[in-house]
Every structure is written in C-alpha cells, then in structure tokens.
C-alpha cells in the first residue's frame, strides 16, 4: 500500500479483556516500530522488529504486552488483561532499515479501556 495502515482505528475494551492491534507496514520496509502515545505527550517507544526478528522490546511496559511479526511483514501488538492505564494511541511506524532512515507512521489505534 501507499502508507502504513493500522486496524482497528478505535477500540474500546473492558478492563481485563485482551486486545490485538494490527499494523501493515509500507511494502519493502524491513523495520517496524511500535510506539505508545498518551494524550498531550510525545510517542514512547515500545518495541521494534527487523524483518521477523524482535531486536528491542525494552519499552514494553509489562509482560501483558506482546508483539510479533511472524513473516516479516504484518505485525500484531497484543495486550492481555487490559488495564485503564493502557488507554492511549498505539502508533506503528516502518522504515527501510532500522538505523539512519526516516520512520513513516500509521494513523494509530486509539485504545480506551473502561
């Protein structure tokens, strides 16, 4: 596709539910990044992949957060047993390579946990 796409765009989950957020990167982009953005703040790094390898997951806030990119293209961010503090916009970005290249962001998924 022309840009990074994410689905769903909006997700409302009850506390304790599991959610799965999908990211479809720009075709040919090797690297894929997940960020979390709270209202009025800059994006905060969660994790990134180079092809199917997860090279850095230091930003994942707890073991309830899990990301995968099994075929080196589409990625899924899963949050288990959602909590209210998980409410945020989850942004996905892709780039040609992990170092020295610009990252292009998708529109994000706004997660609201009630």
């Amino acid at each position: 596709g022309a840009g990074v796409s994410q689905s769903p765009r909006y997700k409302v989950a009850k506390r304790g539910q599991d959610v799965a957020l999908r990211c479809d990167p720009i075709s040919g982009h090797v690297s894929l990044f997940w960020y979390q953005q709270a209202l009025g703040q800059g994006p905060e790094f969660l994790t990134y992949f180079q092809n199917e390898a997860q090279l850095d997951k230091s930003g994942l806030p707890s073991d309830r957060f899990f990301a995968e990119r099994p075929e080196g293209s589409v990625s899924t961010l899963k949050i288990q047993r959602t909590q209210q503090e998980d409410s945020a916009v989850y942004l996905c970005a892709s780039s040609l390579a992990s170092v020295g290249y610009e990252q292009y962001f998708g529109p994000g998924t706004r997660l609201t946990v009630t």
């Binding site: 990074v4 690297s31 990044f33 960020y35 009025g40 703040q41 800059g42 994006p43 905060e44 790094f45 990134y48 180079q50 090279l55 850095d56 230091s58 930003g59 942004l91 780039s95 390579a97 992990s98 170092v99 020295g100 290249y101 610009e102 990252q103 292009y104 962001f105 998708g106 529109p107 994000g108």
Partner: protein
C-alpha cells in the same frame, strides 16, 4: 533519556519565522523531526545524521550540532498549514527513537 524541546509553545502570524530547538544529554547518531496535527499521525519532516547527511522536505531546514547534541528546526515564511505539534526524536543506537515532549506551533492569519 528524553530530549528537551524549546519553546514549549509558539504563536506566529502568517509569514513569520520560528526556530524550534531539541537538546539531548546523550551522544546522538540521528535526530528526526515530525509534525503532528490533532488526531493524526506524526508526519516526517527531516532526518539529520551524525556526519552531516540530512534528508527531508525542501521547504524545511534544520541543523545538527553533534558536539552539543543539539538540533534546531527552522520554519521560514510560515503558513497556516504549519500549525501543529512538532516533535524531535533522537537515536543514539539501534533504531528506536526517543521523542521530546513537543512544541505546539500555532500560525494565525
């Protein structure tokens, strides 16, 4: 550690110029600049790499002082469409970006 942006907010009249600064306490490999409008994705503006290479939009200019770990974004002859929140993202190794808290720019007619 999160880079520090200044100013936090700025209001301009159309046609005026502005400078947004980004400062880090760590040695940097690259600095990335983005603009984000409310409810939308961050849009890439510029990347500046250690060693002097830079890529970005023609109408945007920026500088990167590697010794001081500082970068500045220069917005000249501002247009209404320049309004939004500007973020710098820094990288010192690997691909992850650490973003500043943002600078809110408002351009008025």
């Amino acid at each position: 550690q999160q880079p520090v942006q200044s100013p936090q907010a700025v209001i301009l009249r159309e046609g005026e110029d502005a400078v947004i600064n980004c400062s880090s306490s760590k040695a940097l490999y690259s600095v990335h600049w983005y603009r984000q409008k409310h409810g939308e994705a961050p849009v890439f503006l510029m990347i500046l790499l250690k060693g002097g290479e830079q890529k970005g939009h023609e109408k945007i200019s920026a500088s990167f002082n590697e010794k001081k770990q500082q970068s500045s974004l220069y917005l000249t002859a501002s247009q209404l469409s320049y309004s939004g929140t500007y973020f710098c993202g820094t990288s010192n190794q690997g691909g992850k970006l650490i973003f500043g808290q943002g600078t809110e720019l408002s351009v008025k007619p």
